[in-house]
């Protein structure tokens, strides 16, 4: 499975790590929904670290698309909300 951290690159993850990622992902999501800025940045850091530590960096010239896409490390809660909006940050 391939995971992209926006602004950073792509990692290949084995299925065994998926459960751990999902758990962290849920925590980030809950923080976004609660509008809890502190928990959001802590859990996002943990989620991205898990990808970086457990994954293998994909070759720069690979043209694989990602199965999962994660917000940039320095994203604010507001930016993640915009990412989840159709008319958000991603340039058309």
């Amino acid at each position: 499975m391939i995971v992209r951290i926006l602004g950073e690159g792509q990692w290949e993850m084995s299925e065994e790590h998926l459960a751990g990622l999902n758990e962290l992902d849920e925590q980030v999501e809950a923080a976004v929904e609660a509008g809890d800025e502190v928990t959001f940045s802590n859990t996002l850091v943990a989620l991205l670290d898990a990808v970086r530590k457990r994954g293998t960096v994909l070759a720069e010239d690979s043209l694989h698309d990602s199965d999962l896409i994660l917000p940039p490390a320095d994203a604010s809660l507001e930016e993640v909300r915009e990412l989840l909006n159709d008319d958000g940050l991603i340039p058309g």
Partner: protein, 263 residues
């Protein structure tokens, strides 16, 4: 649905919508390649813009640090002349600058970070564009229009995701840089107006410096006068000059009067 999945879905639909479809799918490859090249040069311009902003902030931090050092020296000088009030004033202004310097240093670090991120993004995009170009040529040479479609879709999905990512990175860097440029512009104005010379009283000029200058020119005049008097009365000038460094301003005068009297 999970955050990661939601972002992925939105990202993908945006990215695939961005592809210009041509009648012959093989032509679509060329259009896309064109857009990749454009994006690549946009990212490189972005790197250069951020670097320019970073240098500007660096320059400002240096200017303010010099100013801060100057105020420190002034405080020392004022204290050595027994003017604690002036020394206090200089140090107060210095502490006003310290906050600005810290702020500028933080901005500088942030811009440096943006610059590094964009540089890496441009390298990744470059590698993928290169890879896409090779694949594009293979597809055009090997497949008929009808056969090409699936191969093309495969090549597109990876590159369009990267383009979406890089496009967003450039956008974010631009936004951040624009905010900082506005603040840098304000500081440039402050520096050129001379208001930072005198943080507590805008438009007042560097009055500490003026007062210290006035005091030291007074003392220089007195010292020189003393030396002249001493010279005319027959004693040698060098001790008098040495005395300027060591003794406070008021002393040479009475000394020379005493010396001049009996001679």
């Amino acid at each position: 649905m999970s955050l990661m999945k939601r972002i992925s879905l939105i990202f993908r639909s945006k990215a695939s919508g961005a592809i210009d479809r041509a009648e012959d799918p093989r032509q679509t490859l060329d259009y896309s390649y064109q857009r990749q090249i454009e994006l690549l040069s946009k990212v490189r311009r972005g790197v250069a813009d951020v670097a320019t902003s970073r240098k500007r902030v660096e320059l400002q931090a240096n200017q303010l640090e010099q100013q801060s050092q100057k105020l420190h020296d002034q405080a020392q000088k004022a204290l050595s002349m027994g003017r604690e009030d002036l020394a206090r004033e200089a140090l107060t202004r210095k502490s006003g600058l310290t906050g600005q310097i810290t702020d500028l240093k933080a901005q500088q670090a942030q811009l440096q970070g943006e610059e590094e991120k964009l540089t890496l993004a441009s390298q990744r995009l470059q590698a993928k564009v290169e890879s896409f170009r090779t694949r594009k040529e293979t597809i055009k040479a090997t497949y008929t229009a009808a056969e090409a479609q699936t191969k093309i879709n495969e090549a597109f999905s990876g590159i369009s995701e990267e383009m979406g990512d890089v496009g967003m990175a450039v956008q974010r860097a631009e936004d951040k840089t624009a905010q900082m440029q506005a603040r840098a512009g304000a500081i440039d104005e402050l520096i050129s107006s001379g208001a930072l010379d005198d943080v507590s009283q805008v438009g007042g000029g560097d009055d500490i410096s003026r007062e210290l200058d006035a005091m030291s020119s007074d003392s220089d005049v007195e010292t020189e006068l003393a030396a002249l008097k001493a010279g005319s009365s027959g004693s040698t000038p060098p001790p008098a000059i040495e005395a300027t460094d060591a003794t406070p301003q008021a002393q040479p005068e009475p000394q020379s009067r005493e010396k001049g009297g009996p001679a």
